[in-house]
Amino acid sequence: MRILVVEDDKDVAGFVVKGLREAGHAVEYADNGRDGLFLAASENFDAIILDRMLPGGIDGLRLLETLRAQDNTTPVVFLSALTQVDDRVRGLKAGGDDYLTKPFAFAELLARVEALARRGKGDGPATRLAVSDLEMDLLSRSVRRGTQKIDLQPREFRLLEYLMRHAGQVVTRTMLLEGVWDYHFDPQTNVIDVHISRLRQKIDKPFEQPLLHTVRNAGYMLRAEEA
């Protein structure tokens, strides 16, 4: 994927750019708002990682507003040291798709950017999701693996749906908390791990091939083994 990073701190930017390239993405980089806006407006990107506070007269919010005013819908992840709820709300109102506060774990950033970039290319509302031999019917709200029907609680169904929609991508605990439980802070208890392990009991335990994998220091991923 082609990703644009607009960030003025050289160390943070270097770290992010390197990480994204290692993950196999093509990365362009600007260290101020003016260059960032020029790049974002003149080239095609799958996602933009944007710092809120930038030198050069155009800060992150202005850059994004200008971009959106030109009907550019490239997904944007804000990266910001402004952590107050108001700042977050303003970032999202300006047209941001996600908001990550500094300091951040790279795995979290990568997971969110990839999730957004893929969503950008979404192929309309699906009625069926499938990963390997695991299938989900969104209309009848039923799940089966191979020939066996799997019974899920409503919340387990939503958890699995979220994982299946992001199949092949890393999904972090925070993404699950936000996406499945609409919960916007870190609980001290490992609530997500417990729910994942329950889901795992149902979809993986009776089968030979595990689909739901733990990604160390990052989160979880639903994928067929050979991929």
């Binding site: 952590t83 107050q84 709820v85 108001d86 506060t101 300091p103 774990a105 919340r155 439980w181 609409d182 919960y183 916007h184 802070f185 870190d186 609980p187 001290q188 208890t189 490992n190 609530v191 417990v194 729910h195 392990s197 329950r198 220091n217």
Partner: protein
């Protein structure tokens, strides 16, 4: 007049004189710039004007009344004498005049009857007063009576027989009274003026007295003594109310300052430990790591330490944000019961995992005017604590009911609880009870819950659950429509 003056001296002096001199500067202010003087002066002017108008009108109407009385008396005399003339002719008039002059009651009365040639026929005036030429009009003229010169109010008329009759009253006494009255008025006016000046000074002193308390307090506070308060008179007047408001504001500022001080102390003490740990780990790895794996391991653990520090920072910032009250702007009317049921579902699995039973009693609806996310976080913190401190096999109760005007959310566990002596301090930032000292956690959980409760004008009560802790989070319910 003063507004046209250029900037006051003080403005130019400020650079070299520090702010602490303000108090002294106040004394050397020109009098007119003192609010007390201005207030008192305007009061004095209104007072004096009112007194003057009153005195003048009093004086005027009294003088007028007396004058009119004399004129009436003269008029009556003239009418009577004219009747005498019509009935009995000149002789009758002369007789009537002599009769009147003999009567000592009319000492002030003045009569003169002259014939057509100006010869005196009767009366007590030596001669026709000079200057009295027109008949039937009022004159006030000096007259000579029995060798005495005097002042008289006079009126003359032509009798049909050709004689001229002059009737008047000696008004020397009246003029004297007039003057006495005027002098009294002037005296009274001077007295009023003096009293006015005195009251000006009094008002100014009063004004200063009130202002002095307030300005002394604010000056002391500006110099760093936050414990000072404006003394209240207890009279319940406007100044008392102002003092109360100022004190209330100071209380709030003190509370916020205490919070800041507490936090900076806490940062100094409680964050130093994990930062030291992370630093030591990195330094140790840099110096002694024998293999890439050991190095990797040390770096990972140091990163985890840093993540922990970041979590503490975020919790601190969040509490500060809640304390500042800014999030009230985002308050909505919301039913808490669906959120609480989600929490039940989210935490039930965790409880079961740990061999605990989560018992829930949520009675809908639970309408509040507030921030759903914050209440959710508060409940999550209470549940996190309950899970953390409960021994396996025990029960944790989460209940939420509408209790009168309050929505009451209770989380009760069977853990070690909090010792009575520690309960008040349990909601302080970074406070950790002896039992909790060796468990994981930042000591910010309950502080956040208390801050959320306070933001919603509610309370967090920590009670003994015998054994265990019963945390009662109550916030006002929104009971508008029913």
């Amino acid at each position: 007049m003063d507004a046209s003056q250029p900037l006051p001296m003080d403005a130019r002096r400020t650079p070299e004189t520090p702010r602490t001199e303000n108090g002294q500067g106040q004394r050397s202010q020109p009098l007119i710039r003192s609010a007390g003087i201005r207030f008192a002066l305007s009061y004095g002017v209104v007072f004096a004007l009112a007194a003057f108008v009153l005195a003048f009108s009093l004086w005027h109407s009294t003088a007028d009344l007396l004058q009119r009385q004399v004129q009436n008396a003269i008029h009556d005399d003239i009418t009577l004498l004219t009747e005498h003339d019509q009935v009995g002719g000149g002789a009758s008039v002369v007789a009537a005049l002599q009769d009147r002059l003999a009567n000592s009651q009319n000492a002030d009365a003045i009569y003169l009857l002259v014939d057509a040639n100006g010869n005196r026929l009767a009366g007590n005036l030596d001669q026709w007063p000079a200057g009295l030429t027109k008949m039937d009009s009022w004159y006030q003229l000096p007259v000579r009576r029995g060798g005495d010169s005097s002042m008289a109010l006079l009126r003359a008329l032509q009798l049909p027989t050709g004689e001229k009759l002059l009737v008047g009253r000696d008004v020397r006494a009246l003029i004297g009274l007039h003057d006495t009255l005027r002098d009294a008025m002037i005296g009274a006016a001077s007295l009023i003026l003096v009293l006015g000046l005195l009251s000006i000074l009094l008002i100014r002193a009063l004004f200063r007295g009130v202002i002095r308390d307030i300005s002394a307090t604010t000056r002391a506070i500006a110099q760093g003594d936050l414990s000072r308060r404006v003394p209240r008179s207890g009279k319940g007047d406007e100044f008392d109310e102002l003092a109360g408001l100022i004190n209330h504001m100071l209380d709030r500022i003190t509370r916020l300052m205490d919070g800041v001080r507490q936090v900076s102390n806490a940062i100094a003490h409680d964050l130093r430990t994990p930062i030291t740990r992370a630093r030591a780990r990195l330094e140790d790895a840099a110096a002694h790591a024998s293999s890439p794996e050991a190095m990797q391991n040390a770096i990972e653990r140091a990163t985890q330490d840093l993540d922990g520090i970041v979590r503490v920072f975020e919790a601190l910032l969040r509490i500060a944000e809640i304390d500042a009250g800014a999030r009230r702007a985002a308050f909505l009317t919301v039913d808490l019961s669906p959120m609480l049921r989600d929490m039940d579902e989210l935490y039930r699995a965790v409880a079961e995992e740990r061999g605990l039973h989560l018992e829930t009693g949520i009675i809908a609806p639970l309408p509040v005017f507030g921030d759903r996310d914050l209440v959710q976080q508060a409940v999550a913190n209470l549940l996190d604590n309950a899970l953390k401190f409960s021994p396996p096999g025990e029960v944790i109760r989460l209940s939420a009911v509408l209790n009168g005007a309050m929505v009451e959310i209770v989380v009760a566990d069977r853990g070690p609880g909090i010792a009575e002596a520690d309960r008040n301090r349990a909601t302080e930032r970074f406070f950790r009870a002896e039992i909790a000292r060796h468990t994981e956690g930042s000591g910010l959980g309950l502080a956040l819950v208390a801050a959320v409760a306070q933001l919603h004008n509610g309370t967090l009560e920590l009670e003994d659950n015998g054994p265990g802790l019963r945390a009662v989070f109550s916030i006002p319910a929104q009971l508008s429509e029913t």
